[in-house]
Amino acid sequence: MPEAVEKVTLQLTVNGKLHSLSVEPRVLLVELLREILDLTGTHVGCDTTYCGACTVLMNGAAVKSCTMFAVQAEGAEVLTVEGLEKDGELHPIQKAFGDSYGLQCGYCTPGLMISTLQLLSKNRKPNEKEMRKAIAGNTCRCTGYQNIFKAIQLAAKNMNGA
């Protein structure tokens, strides 16, 4: 019964901002982001960890926020798509996705850009195989991935200042 569900307190940092909240234990991280913090840039596509539309960065690692409880993010630093831009300026990855026509409907794009950020922060010059593997958990139904590959390569180039 809903009244009986005891809420738990939770502290986490999202896009640099500290939040102290109390949530039901069954609340998923993606529900916390979308429903409670109103950060609707992170999406849900499959509910089963497959499609990656819900990918966010948690303590530097890309995670699928549809398959994590919010309470598992206790004390964590979370970055969502809304946190990519700085003072209104697009992040080089955002710019590269736009310049390469790396999106169509844009539903998968936030998750893909977060996975790209994880890749490029660990590997400045990924080869094709590394690039494909890095986004293997992000489904895109519109682009056939061709322009996403171009976007990742362009982002890598721009971030390396080449």
């Binding site: 019964m1 809903p2 009244e3 039901e24 069954r26 979308r34 429903e35 109103d38 950060l39 609707t40 840039g41 992170t42 999406h43 849900v44 596509g45 499959c46 509910d47 089963t48 497959y50 499609c51 539309a53 969502t80 798509v81 809304e82 990519l84 831009e85 697009l90 955002q94 996705f97 736009g98 310049d99 026509y101 999106l103 169509q104 409907c105 844009g106 539903y107 998968c108 794009t109 936030p110 850009m113 690039m131 494909r132 593997k133 986004i135 293997a136 992000n138 489904t139 895109c140 139904r141 519109c142 682009t143 056939g144 991935y145 061709q146 322009n147 996403i148 590959f149």
Partner: protein
């Protein structure tokens, strides 16, 4: 209009998309992002059986749960509404299709009740408390079995046959009499799949009891069709239904048929006292019960050929499986005939076309709708004939293609192919893939025991339907032609604002519409605001508005172009008055005070604010003869169609014919049987291109869908109608690691049927399915295999290649040689 002012500047340019700014920042507005005060959440209760009587439903446990507002059952819905309109004729028009099952369920996943609660989690909890007793019935999962009528789905119809019609043209008997070869193919099968947009269906409905007005915020992709169904079903005036769409996370046609869920959400909102009700579909719900593409079986195909392998006639019997309810069907029973001969010249044909209901998810118009099944069939037929007669697959096609000098080409059933050059596309594809090199490599590989095949797929993307073809399936339907609306205005401060009736899902309509208007007014596209996403209250839509069927570049942009020209004509009259000159003396451009109209003779100008002000806020300065000007110009574009001859099934069914020619090199691993794409080329011709990277992106997307469908994506049902592929772990959409690099090429044969020379595109004719089947055929023909199914994976190839009787080809295909 001066030629200078109308010169094309922006159309044809690779303009960055206007949509990106919000989408890249995570600021898109998708339906699930919308939160309304007092919003409630709906969850459906769905059948675990494919076919069963509903003995009882008990919702009392759910209703007793604190936080649950109400429950709704099929019986209640049937008492409050009319069954949905049926498109087809009697006897199937007699069936009673309600959005919640009433006395029986007809497919696994069919909704039969709904619960509404204060939170999504509570609605989930409540759904589990609904008790349903079923009495299982015999399920029918195969369309040919369904036609035996041993187990009937809809008693009111008394048959499982939804529609049957014979499409016969030319002199078939004579062609077979004179044939040098007759090739017979016992059966071919096009499988069931779904393009599964990444965003599931979402509906928010509010039925306000005070003003009897229903307000939808949702991601339906053909709202003008949906409201026609909903108004009749719910018994409300169509003007009382407002549908608004915003950003849509893909549809590919699948979101056209979400109107049953839209109906339930409205009824639930009314029952909840007018509070808004939101339903967000889960992925499993989407895969089991939104819509699938049409499955089709091709029986008893006979092909007549002359001594050179030129096809002179085809006869065949086609059985389409539309799942448990026709809904958008039986339109698919005629839509395939838009591409009746495919890209080929044969004049004589007879196709006996039937459609049956089965205990599976209803079908909907999925990317390539109804034409791709037929185009795959034709490509298989052409390929099978080529191998049986030992004619190279490329040569076989060149002998049978419609020739470049034959356009505009009238097909045997009266369609007019606007333009094209298939041999040129083939040559370009060969150059891109390195045809001769691969042929050499193939010979070497075969000597090493490797199975490598090179396949060609030629296909069409027919765009801008003549809805008059619906009268071929039911002469009583009140639809014909095609129209799209657009509005172009100068707002009070002179802003150029364009509204269209489409609801794009990534096709870049904001960008391409701005390019068109920018050319008409000779201003930068950044100065133009385009309102996309559907909204009935913008009053720009017609009965055909939405985003489907490869047509925006023609119907949508023609409407935008017409509205912009209308606005420009009004601006000219105003400017001529304001600048004391005649209209021929005017030019449009951008000056120190923004976009303006100038008098060439005096150099005097008036900017857009000045023009708008004359109409809106400074109207005392306006002479009465200009009172009729509104600077708010709606234009309806109508396609120049006639109603087809419904008896002969003859007439122009589509306005433009984009073409695709793909080539693939595929290797079947001799140990694992996994088919792997070694090289892939996609050549496209959609006439004059409005925005090249947008077109290229659509080609890649359609290619990915086709490759996925050919090798990975299959809606699998077991013998009793259980769906075995209900998550993305079982129904596997193509990923970045499966998708090959695609070499893209294009040619442009401008269409004489559109103002810009553009052809509608985006569906892509499912070219990869034809191409991969052809490549597998090439790899495996020497092993005695004939590719008879559109879906081929390691499992099916293993079974084919290890079957004891390797003489399958003898059974499936028979060749009579008469020369």
């Amino acid at each position: 209009m001066s030629p200078e002012a109308d010169k094309k500047n922006w159309v044809g340019k690779s303009l960055p998309r206007k949509e990106e700014n919000r989408l890249l920042r995570g600021r898109g507005k998708f339906s699930d992002d919308i939160k309304l005060r007092e919003m409630l959440y709906l969850r459906f209760i769905r059948s675990p059986y494919a076919h069963a009587k509903i003995v009882s439903i008990d919702v009392s446990g759910a209703e007793a749960l604190p936080g649950v507002v109400c429950a709704l059952t099929g019986t209640e819905v049937a008492q409050q509404t009319q069954p949905f309109i049926e498109i087809g004729p009697d006897p199937f028009a007699k069936i009673k299709d309600y959005p919640l099952a009433v006395s029986k369920v007809r497919y696994q996943g069919e909704p039969l009740a709904a619960v509404v609660a204060e939170s999504p989690a509570l609605a989930d909890d409540a759904a589990e408390l609904v008790q349903v007793d079923y009495d299982p019935l015999d399920p029918v999962v195969d369309a040919e079995n369904a036609l035996t009528n041993k187990s009937i789905l809809h008693e009111e119809a008394g048959t499982n046959l939804v529609w049957n019609g014979i499409f016969e043209y030319g002199d078939v008997e004579e062609a077979f009499r004179d044939a040098a070869y007759v090739v017979k193919v016992d059966h071919l099968h096009f499988h069931r799949f779904s393009s599964t947009p990444l965003e599931n269906n979402v509906v928010i409905a509010q039925w306000n009891p005070k003003d009897e007005r229903i307000y939808y915020q949702c991601n339906n992709s053909f709202p003008s069709f949906a409201i026609q169904f909903l108004a009749a079903h719910l018994g409300v005036h169509i003007d009382r239904i407002r549908v608004e769409t915003s950003d849509i996370g893909g549809s590919f046609g699948i979101k056209i048929t979400s109107y049953p869920q839209m109906a339930v959400c409205a009824l639930a909102s009314r029952k909840a006292g007018g509070r808004p009700v939101k339903w967000v579909e889960t992925r499993s719900e989407h895969i089991t019960s939104s819509a699938h593409g049409n499955e089709r079986t091709f029986r008893d195909t006979r092909v007549a050929l002359d001594k050179n392998g030129v096809i002179t006639a085809i006869t065949s019997r086609h059985i389409d499986d539309c799942g448990a309810y026709p809904r958008y069907e039986p339109l698919g029973c005629v839509i395939w005939s838009q591409v009746f001969p495919g890209v080929y010249r044969f004049k004589n044909a007879r196709i006996d076309f039937s459609q049956a209901v089965t205990n599976k998810c209803p079908v909907g118009p999925n990317r390539g709708y109804s034409r791709m099944q037929h185009l795959w069939f034709l490509e298989r037929v052409v390929d099978i004939c080529a191998y049986e007669l030992d004619i190279p697959a490329d040569e076989m096609r060149l002998r049978n293609y419609i020739r470049p000098d034959e356009f505009p080409y009238t097909t045997p059933n009266g369609c007019v192919y606007d333009s094209g050059d298939y041999p040129k596309m083939m040559q370009l594809a060969k150059d891109l893939i390195g045809w001769d090199d691969w042929k050499t490599k193939q010979v070497i590989a075969r000597k090493e025991g490797r199975l490598i095949g090179i396949g060609i797929g030629t296909t069409l993307d027919s765009g801008t339907n003549n809805f008059g073809q619906s009268q071929i399936v039911n002469p009583f339907l009140p639809y014909s032609g095609n129209s799209q609306g657009a509005n172009c205005k100068l707002d009070i401060y002179g802003e150029v604002v364009v509204a269209v009736g489409s609801c794009p899902q990534g096709q870049g309509h904001e960008t391409t519409a701005a390019q068109v208007v920018a050319d008409v007014l000779n201003i930068h596209p950044d100065l133009i605001t385009v309102r996309t996403g559907f909204d009935t209250e913008r009053n720009v839509h017609t009965g055909f508005s939405g985003t489907y069927a490869s047509q925006f570049a023609v119907s949508g942009l023609s409407a935008v172009h017409g509205a912009a020209q209308k606005l420009k004509a009004e601006m000219k009259r105003l400017a001529a008055f304001a600048l004391e000159t005649n209209e021929d003396d005017l030019e449009f451009g951008t000056g120190a005070q923004g976009p303006e109209t100038r008098a060439k003779s005096t150099g005097k100008s008036i900017n857009y604010w000045g023009l708008a002000n004359l109409v809106n806020a400074n109207s005392a300065a306006l002479p009465p003869e200009l009172y009729e000007l509104t600077l708010n110009c709606r234009y309806i574009w109508r396609a120049p169609f006639k109603v087809p001859d419904t008896k002969k099934k003859y007439g122009s069914l589509t306005l433009t014919y984009a073409a695709q020619l793909h080539m693939a090199v595929v290797e079947v691993d001799c140990d694992t049987y996994i088919p792997r794409i070694l090289d892939y080329v996609a050549v496209d011709d959609c006439g004059t291109v409005i925005n090249p990277p947008i077109v290229e992106g659509q080609v890649y997307g359609a290619t990915a869908h086709g490759i996925g469908a050919a090798l990975m994506e299959n809606c699998v049902y077991d013998a009793v109608g259980n769906m075995l592929t209900s998550t993305f772990s079982d129904y596997i959409p193509i990923t970045a690691v499966n998708m090959p690099n695609v070499k893209y090429g294009h040619i442009e044969t401008p269409s004489p049927h559109s103002y810009s020379g553009a052809k509608g595109m985006g569906e892509g004719g499912a070219a990869p399915i034809h191409t991969i089947s052809a490549a597998l055929q090439d790899a495996l023909f020497a092993s005695g295999i004939v590719i008879d199914d559109s879906f081929n994976n390691a499992d099916s190839l293993f079974r084919a290649l290890t079957a004891k009787e390797i003489s399958q080809a003898d059974k499936l295909v028979k060749v009579e040689k008469r020369v």
